[in-house]
Symmetry: D2
Subunit: 325 residues, 4 copies
């Protein structure tokens, strides 16, 4: 396990529950964090070198900071380890492609952590869509909003809203529609957030994608939804509509003189995607133990990154971009 | 009353209920329709000339076919009559401007039939937004879908999906955000509708608008929602979200072994906007009898038409258009 | 039209819209109210004698105070007029039976104003139940709550909560299950309403009914639901569940940092049952003009009254009552 | 751990996750089941004697069949072990009282497995009620329906629907209202289930309870809800209403030409109360390690059982029972 932070803890706990997996090493630049996570799961602290040199290690889970992903993918692949890596592969397309080349050359299994594909609601919708319940998909609307902006220094290193937040939504677009974009248009703003604007980023954005078959996708995002974490999408097909809604912490409904009210959505991604995180790690180790293909793979990681890059350019240049060529 | 068709009947019935209004003449090229509507409300059939020449007529309601609007507006204005006219003013911007000039010169009151502003749900949302409930609006999402495409010959005369259907949504955009667009981007397709595509029109479209203040608007539409007429929008503000949903014919909920299910939305615009049609006519005659301003007025009609024209161009040219100049 | 009060105005306006009906006389002890209602609909003020003596009068609508119902039913029947009478027939079972006898003897048509049977939601549920959608009904739950208690002097004359409020729910029970009760149990309280308790009445009550076939019904009521007028029921059948919910004034949904909220239900019965009042009057005049049977009839009025009386006794005596004999 | 069946496995897995708990022995008459559960959690198979004789065992979890509960409670208490016991204490009130006496005499901690008190939705509602959000509770409505009846031989041993199913709801009544019943009325039927009727049991039941303060409670149940497991309740207070709804497996909403539909509720109690089972075991071991009181305790178990017995008698005798004495 590379990374003993917030997401590392989640992956480690899920890994520990898998009957075919055992956590052997925790690697983190923060010694105390590594030690605590290792202790919790009966593992040892090690350096990357030590862990990758151990032939008993068959797979790595990369949950360290974004700037370490590409290097760890390269070294793990060369060491012959199967790889689970958090999104994004890298903020730089060139380095991401180099990783994909190494994966291809070494033939190691590699899965990218777009956990939303494993969300029970999203997955059920995808299965019903694939089963033909609403016919061919024609319009996809994605709402993807964070409860509040991250610290300014995080934003500065984040690659911008399209690579940081919307990369997940670009993956949803490709996964749900089962097609690639032929055009991308993005616009956005940073109302009331002058410092974020000054840092060259946005707090609201609107993206439009179009596939070769003419399916349309609109994504809207905000870094600040006062009511919490909002993750919904809907697909209009030729025979109906499928919507994926938020989850609520409880099913209490209160009727007062003012309103009938329910809980706001789960607070943030750790709560909202708790099941998804468990299911993606299960998919990874099931796939490894059974020899079945892993999804989403590094190509999915790169395609989403390319769309994020195109969206960033579209916004900066104020024009729609053709990406069919 | 000009026009004794579907919408003419509705306006006439609403007019008949207003304490300050009396229907005097019905004008329609179809004699039988005119006669029947006149009989229902104790009015007489007349030609446009006769009706406009009668000094006892203070106001006209124009609900005849789109190609007659501009001419009737001009003649009614010159005859000094107050005017309620169904959207659009005209499919041609030039003729619409000429109407506005005549209205301005003659000083007659003129209201355009964007009835959605009078829908109880939409109006309540607008009032709560204006009262500051969610702070400044940042993102507006509009879903506007018809249950099925109209006949091909209608489509050919309709001016296309942006002028025919989305003109209402452009008005919603301007009304809800209280601002004008500085950029427009539109794309669309006609999947499974080769004849509509051949006629130069679309069945699905996605439009993105941006205001000077950076508020974003995404509109999605379809000429064929298998489940019925779908009219929703939502506004994200700095302090929360307001959504306007569909109405259902009944509040029956059925729990079966397969699903928990509710009614689909009201079937089409006559059902969905029944209250709105009544309230807009009430607003028109209240305004006339009290001397208060009428909204939406002919400038609103022209602004929505201009956005429809820009969206059509954006789609045809495959690029975002700057409309701030 | 007997009665020019709140409900009289509603009936008169609905009557005025029916193509086969014309309002000829308004009768009310309050001259001014009678005069105003008569003027609105082009009718005349008259005494009961005058109105009933006019052979041009074919039907009467009784919307005057409860204590006048029985007398007006008797006199109208003897005068050969068809009768629409607001619930209840009378607070006294003996007098109600005498009315039924006169109706039977004179053969006039008579309909009782249990308007809830005409509520679009309730009616749609009933049709789906009758169509077999959920199999045989086994459990019926009725929630029936007023927004606030009426004045104490009204309560004193009301016959108590079972005859005043729940009589409607007893009719719903009989109509939905299509069966009669074999046992009745009622209990209740008047928490925080010492004066109502002192007047011998309740503010909350719980009633249980059982049919010969073993279908169960639970009714709960309150004279004070802080959030408004609450009128719901649900039927569990062998193959599923059907619920009838409240209506909301608008379909606005607000997402704040605290909650996701919707409108409370329509404020009170005039708003909630607006459509039902129109449809019951339409049913009455349609039935008269077409010679088809009227429902609910005076027997329905008496059966509901008998259940209200049994429930009152059950509560007072603190025991379940057998009503199968 | 006594019992290695369905519920035993759940408790064992939850126990295994608690930092202060370790599973030492599994006791079950089915050797293979005991062995497998023991192996899963690194425990050993033992007889009751062996397990209770081990001084290293501080606590027992009783999840074996109902007829073993009382004996195991007695022996565990005498052995000085803290006890978590599934509901019911026993089907016989006398034996249950004997258990309570032994618990009192030995002073061991004892918690009864009314897991619904730990359901996140129910618990949140209770907290909001206690915080005064809706004022004093006046009416409690409980819907408690199973997806289908158990095998006939289970029903014969179950103590009947009131002790088998509604015992949970009697506990909810006492917990939510924080008061005891002064009267009980129950009725029921077994439509379409002649064999269950012949076995002296019911498939539908309706219970009414009243507290000294006049709060009313209606419980309705069914052994066969075609749409699944239905667990809802609502509390009307002087200032509003709180409802606790079902959970759905996913938040997918489908719009078809026929209906707008959602998932039916979680299939049955293992799914619906998954979180509750985890939280009650956490509460048990937290309480033991911190020395804080355990709820619900054996008195709660007895009080619910007494209400179940009274309801059974009320139904059999066809009359309301006074239980205030």
């Amino acid at each position: 396990m590379f990374g003993a932070g917030r997401i590392g803890k989640i992956h480690a706990a899920n890994l520990a529950r898998h009957p075919k997996a055992r956590l052997r090493y925790v690697v983190d630049v923060h010694d105390a964090a590594a030690a605590e996570l290792a202790r919790t799961h009966g593992a040892r602290v090690a350096s990357a070198e030590q862990a990758l040199a151990d032939p008993a290690v068959n797979a790595v889970v990369i949950g360290s900071s974004t700037d370490t992903h590409a290097d760890l993918i390269q070294r793990s692949a060369l060491a012959g380890k199967a790889i689970f890596c958090e999104k994004p592969v890298d903020l730089d397309i060139g380095r991401a492609h180099a990783c994909a080349d190494t994966i291809a050359r070494t033939g190691v299994a590699c899965m990218i952590g777009f956990q939303r594909r494993f969300d029970p609601t999203f997955r059920a919708l995808k299965q019903r869509l694939d089963a033909g319940e609403i016919g061919a998909p024609e319009v996809l609307l994605i709402t993807s909003r964070d409860p509040g902006p991250p610290p300014l220094d995080y934003i500065a290193r984040s690659g911008g809203v399209f690579k940081d937040m919307l990369i997940h939504d670009f993956d949803i677009f490709r996964w749900i529609l089962g097609a690639e974009a032929v055009s991308v248009y993005a616009t956005g703003a940073a109302p009331e957030f002058a410092e974020i604007a000054a840092a060259g980023d946005l707090t609201t954005a609107a993206v439009t994608l179009r596939t070769r078959d003419g399916a349309l996708c609109q994504i809207n995002t905000s870094r600040r939804a006062a009511y919490g974490y909002d993750q919904r999408f809907e697909v209009l097909g030729s025979r109906g509509l499928l919507q994926a809604g938020n989850q609520r912490p409880t099913e209490v409904v209160a009727w007062s003189a003012q309103a009938i009210s329910q809980d706001t959505p789960e607070a943030f991604f750790l709560e909202r995607y708790r099941a998804a995180y468990a299911l993606e790690i299960e998919h990874f180790f099931d796939g490894l133990s059974q020899g079945t293909p892993l999804h989403p793979n590094i190509d999915d990681g790169i395609k989403a990154l390319e769309l994020a890059e195109l969206a960033t350019r579209s916004w900066r240049e104020g024009r729609a971009l053709d990406c069919s060529i």
